[in-house]
């Protein structure tokens, strides 16, 4: 018996041994038979795995950054400066982490908006949509908590404003602010709390919810366009493995190339260390994905009727978020019905967000 046959027999025996104990054949069979529909909406089904790609990059680069980062008032800014100057290739790692956050959030927005417009949240995919909206929330929370960690003047001012916003919500608002800050005011405790959110709580929550989200997608299958012929769709569908995965890989490689290029040529800056007692610097702006909310807050007058303008603005934003979450229950028509109003609202929202963001950048 030659060596090759021996190795083959050994690996077969190991596979059988493992199968008897773990039983992964069902999963393998499922993936082998999984099909992806090919139609005018197929392009949007790439956005989900794009989010996953950037999330994996965030995990890998984030772990490396956490090796050197120190979440204390004295050392936070210094340790980021050390990552940028002393740690071998530290500046690229931080830059990729920062750019990949932007890419990931952009991909989440595109993913959700595309599903909104093509209405694949309809029965039976309501819970897939709702878990997706929560994932959006967690992704934004990642961005918000990560923004403070370099502890420079801009990130402190942005966090002061951001954590003060919930205060306007009746009854629970004050407690939300206290919970986020670890007290009445921003302090060293806020920094360590945000670090804890960013590297333990949010990753655990996100992973658990991604599990639910992906499970639901596998269980329910890919949605078809409104009014599609099911038989024709079945005939055109391509196998998930390897046909679709290879196509996805092409997209991943292109995006990864774009990410690294941007990261190398446009690394994020680091301002001087934040001072809790210093006046807020001029021209503070949140990250781009909060600009439209920032501008919305800015255009409200100081007082409306018997309450402050902010309270009204924040309650309106909150109501908008709740309506967004419950979209599948509001538009609960059967999957084959068109929904022009819902589509127009989606485009109106995109227009509003883009216009507000540009106004904020110019103003």
């Amino acid at each position: 018996m030659n060596f090759r046959v021996c190795v083959k027999r050994m690996s077969e025996r190991f596979a059988t041994w493992l199968e008897e104990r773990v039983g992964l054949r069902a999963v393998a069979d499922f993936l082998k038979n999984k099909k992806v529909p090919q139609n005018k909406h197929t392009i949007w089904s790439y956005t989900g795995s794009i989010i996953l790609l950037f999330f994996l990059i965030q995990v890998a680069t984030g772990i490396i950054l956490a090796f050197y980062y120190r979440p204390t008032l004295e050392e936070a800014n210094k340790s980021v400066a050390r990552i940028m100057t002393e740690v071998p290739l530290g500046w690229v790692i931080r830059s990729i982490h920062s750019w990949s956050a932007t890419f990931m959030i952009a991909a989440v927005f595109v993913h959700l908006l595309s599903i909104w417009v093509i209405k694949s949240y309809r029965k039976p995919r309501e819970l897939t949509w709702m878990s997706g909206v929560l994932l959006l929330l967690f992704t934004l929370a990642f961005g918000f908590t990560g923004y403070l960690l370099p502890w420079d003047e801009l990130s402190l001012a942005a966090t002061k404003v951001g954590t003060d916003i919930p205060r306007s919500i009746p009854v629970v608002g004050v407690w939300v602010t206290k919970f986020l800050r670890g007290g009445e005011d921003i302090s060293g405790d806020t920094l360590s709390r945000f670090f804890s959110f960013h590297v333990t709580i949010l990753p655990l929550l996100l992973l658990a919810l991604v599990g639910v989200h992906v499970y639901l997608i596998q269980k329910l299958g890919m949605s078809l366009p409104v009014g599609a012929d099911e038989k024709e769709e079945m005939r055109r569908a391509i196998p998930f493995w390897p046909n679709f995965v290879y196509r996805e890989m092409v997209v991943w490689l292109i995006l990864f190339g774009a990410l690294v290029t941007l990261a190398v040529f446009l690394p994020p800056s680091l301002g001087k260390s934040a001072d809790l007692m210093a006046p807020a610097p001029e021209g503070i702006k949140p990250e781009w994905y909060f600009l439209f909310l920032f501008q919305t807050l800015k255009i409200f007058p100081a007082r409306i009727l018997f309450t402050t303008g902010d309270t009204v603005a924040i309650l309106l934003i909150l109501v908008g978020g709740i309506l967004f979450f419950f979209l599948p229950l509001i538009d609960n028509r059967p999957a084959e019905r068109k929904g022009k109003v819902i589509t127009w609202i989606a485009f109106a929202f995109i227009l509003y967000a883009v216009a507000m963001s540009i106004w904020s950048l110019l103003g």
Binding site: S187, M277, A280, R303
Partner: protein, 149 residues
């Protein structure tokens, strides 16, 4: 009236008892967790400033001091009176700065304006700056919370 069967079965009684007991156990576990998550108020009752450093600042200037984790601003008015504020915008909590040439307090975050007495006069702030009470006790200035508000 006598009923044939018990309306409240033994099982329901035990379930209620165990459920209540589990609920109480959970609450007793949650209480210390909540206590640890929400730390107590840390605003100081008073802050002592040395008269040497703060007593003779020129009129129409402001000198910052630490009011807990927030900046406090001690201001000498033209009349020579000392007044103090919590130097935090009443809009969304950014730290304000004093612009002596304009005699105004300014918050750069959302362009909020206050006059030299801390009254909100422009932009989004809904309330005047919070005042603190200044008293001179011997060599030192003592800053305390305003009794009202």
């Amino acid at each position: 009236m006598k009923v044939r069967e018990s309306i409240f079965t033994r099982r329901r009684f035990l379930n209620g008892l165990l459920g209540g007991w589990l609920g109480a156990l959970l609450a007793s576990l949650l209480y210390p967790v909540m206590r640890a998550i929400f730390p107590p108020e840390r605003e100081p009752d008073q802050v002592l400033l040395s008269g040497e450093d703060y007593g003779d600042i020129p009129p129409n200037t402001v000198k910052p001091f630490a009011w807990g984790n927030k900046p406090g601003l001690l201001k000498k008015a033209e009349t020579g009176d000392l007044i103090a504020f919590v130097g935090v915008c009443t809009h969304l909590d950014c730290n304000v700065t004093y612009l002596p040439e304009q005699r105004k307090f300014f918050c750069a975050c959302h362009e909020g304006w206050y006059d030299e007495n801390g009254t909100n006069i422009g932009g989004p702030p809904p309330r005047p700056l919070r005042r603190l009470r200044v008293t001179i006790e011997g060599e030192n200035l003592v800053i305390r919370k305003e009794e009202t508000a």
